[in-house]
Subunit: 304 residues, 2 copies
């Protein structure tokens, strides 16, 4: 394990971008049966290929690499995670949800294509995520059970007991305040579940033992929760800079966050605790966990 070689960050990103580009092909001739309409393919590609850090695909592929699996075999699953993440952003940006006009410096999907097409583009990305994983799984009959277990693990964490459930409570509790148990549900489900999904799915695909799967779940959950708190801390610092005040801006806006609920210092301590627990969980993988540790470190030590 000590002499294990890793794919470079650039090579990994190139692999992911190639996979995403192929996952939603550009349109064929108009009204060609069995092809997506040109407008739909364009709207899906607009959001899917808009850059982004590709964190969730990278987490899955680094887990597979760590466990000695085949990156090409896992690529459809890595891309599916990004498609699920992207569809959730498109729907989340809609006027009936967060009503955002810009994302990553570009107009949001519905500002370009209209709300109706944005809803369908989101639906299309979610459905295509499953199509891609299922079609890929059928290419590996000797490991079909592992593929299905991994796809099921992703589906569950993206669904109503996972990400969609978190989105719902986030939306329905907006501006209403809340307590630790509500905030904990929202962050665990809306954010952390989609960090757990890639590492657990990667583990299942490679036939990891249950002790390893538990370790991966602890890593994913803690990195996800820490990532969310860092995000909220950065928001708060941005607001404070803008308003010339030290803290409390976010809380006044009615947004339920750990810094607003517990104060900035306690929130920072929580990040440190979550990081320590996440990295500790990876010890059982030894030096092979180097790249996963690196991603976890970058995700939870971001500065504004």
């Amino acid at each position: 394990m000590t002499n294990k070689t890793f794919v470079t960050h650039e090579a990994l990103l190139a692999l992911i971008e190639e996979g995403l580009n192929a996952a939603v092909p550009e349109a064929a001739a108009p009204y060609a049966h069995g092809h997506p309409p040109a407008l739909l393919a364009e709207a899906m590609r607009y959001s899917l290929l808009a850059g982004g850090k590709r964190l969730r695909p990278a987490l899955l592929l680094r887990t597979v690499e760590m466990l000695g699996g085949d990156l090409q075999e896992a690529l459809a699953m890595a891309c599916a995670l990004e498609m699920i993440h992207t569809y959730s952003l498109i729907h989340d940006d809609l006027p009936a949800m967060d009503n955002d006009d810009f994302r990553r410096g570009r107009p949001t999907n519905h500002k370009v294509y209209g709300e109706g097409i944005a809803i369908l583009a989101g639906d299309g990305l979610l459905n295509s995520a499953f199509e891609g994983m299922l079609c890929n799984a059928l290419r590996y009959p000797e490991r079909l059970q592992r593929h299905v277990a991994a796809i099921e693990a992703i589906a569950r964490r993206a669904g109503v007991t996972g990400m969609i459930g978190g989105q719902c409570l986030d939306l329905s509790s907006e501006g209403m305040g809340g307590d630790e148990s509500l905030l904990s549900y929202i962050h665990l489900h809306k954010t952390a579940r989609l960090f757990i999904a890639p590492v657990v799915a990667g583990g299942l695909l490679c036939g990891a033992e249950s002790k390893q799967l538990s370790a991966l779940e602890v890593y994913g959950r803690n990195v996800g929760l820490a990532f969310q708190i860092v995000d909220d801390l950065l928001d708060l610092e941005g607001d404070a800079l803008a308003m010339g005040k030290a803290t409390g801006a976010d809380a006044k806006l009615g947004k339920l966050t750990w810094p607003a609920l517990l104060g900035v210092e306690t929130a920072r301590q929580k990040v440190a605790d979550l990081r320590r627990e996440a990295f500790g969980a990876l010890e059982c993988f030894g030096d092979a966990a180097k790249e996963l540790l690196g991603i976890g470190d970058r995700l939870t030590s971001r500065k504004a």
Copy 2:
């Protein structure tokens, strides 16, 4: 085959309703981790358990019955088809799409729960459809390949090269007129693909031969297209009654339909041709096709 016994229509419907009721459980305690929020479960159940003819689940289960498969093993897949159909109706009813206030005599999902929750309820039903099928598939390791092939067949026909693609062209061509090639794409993808999905998936689950799968696809496609034309003819008769005119009302509203494009008589002839071809395709199954023939007959001979 001649003495084959069939489940009664009432027993089949009861089985489907039971499956749907279990597919989206009512909420547990507030903020219980790993459970859907109460509001989300309620919104999903509001639309999923609102009655309806359960055509797509019935088509799948009757196909499985015809081929000697196990109805209990197929139930999750049957329910998934209804969940996919229901999510498409919830999203289709939204103001940005068809903007409908009522469906089946009740307020549409977004009129009761708001647009944001309606979008999430639709997303949740689509995701839960896959969760249910995948989880069920893992219970049958000896027939896993058949399950995955069937789930993939459903996913493809529900996706951007299927139903979602048809929805997109239906939406983007609204009020713009159109020709036969556009109308043919919309009906084949938006409507017929979700009639093909249950019978082909049922066939794949039971290990049907490729000749049988082709016959099932012909049946599903033709019944689906005929169902759509009958629907348009009934709409036209309703409009004509309301306006005291014989024909042409729909065409004036800019809605692209076969009766509007080809005239009522030609459209009726098309229904008769599609029915004949659909029923002819089932001849290879002999008497065992009795129930599928019955569903096809009811679907394509509806009166207002």
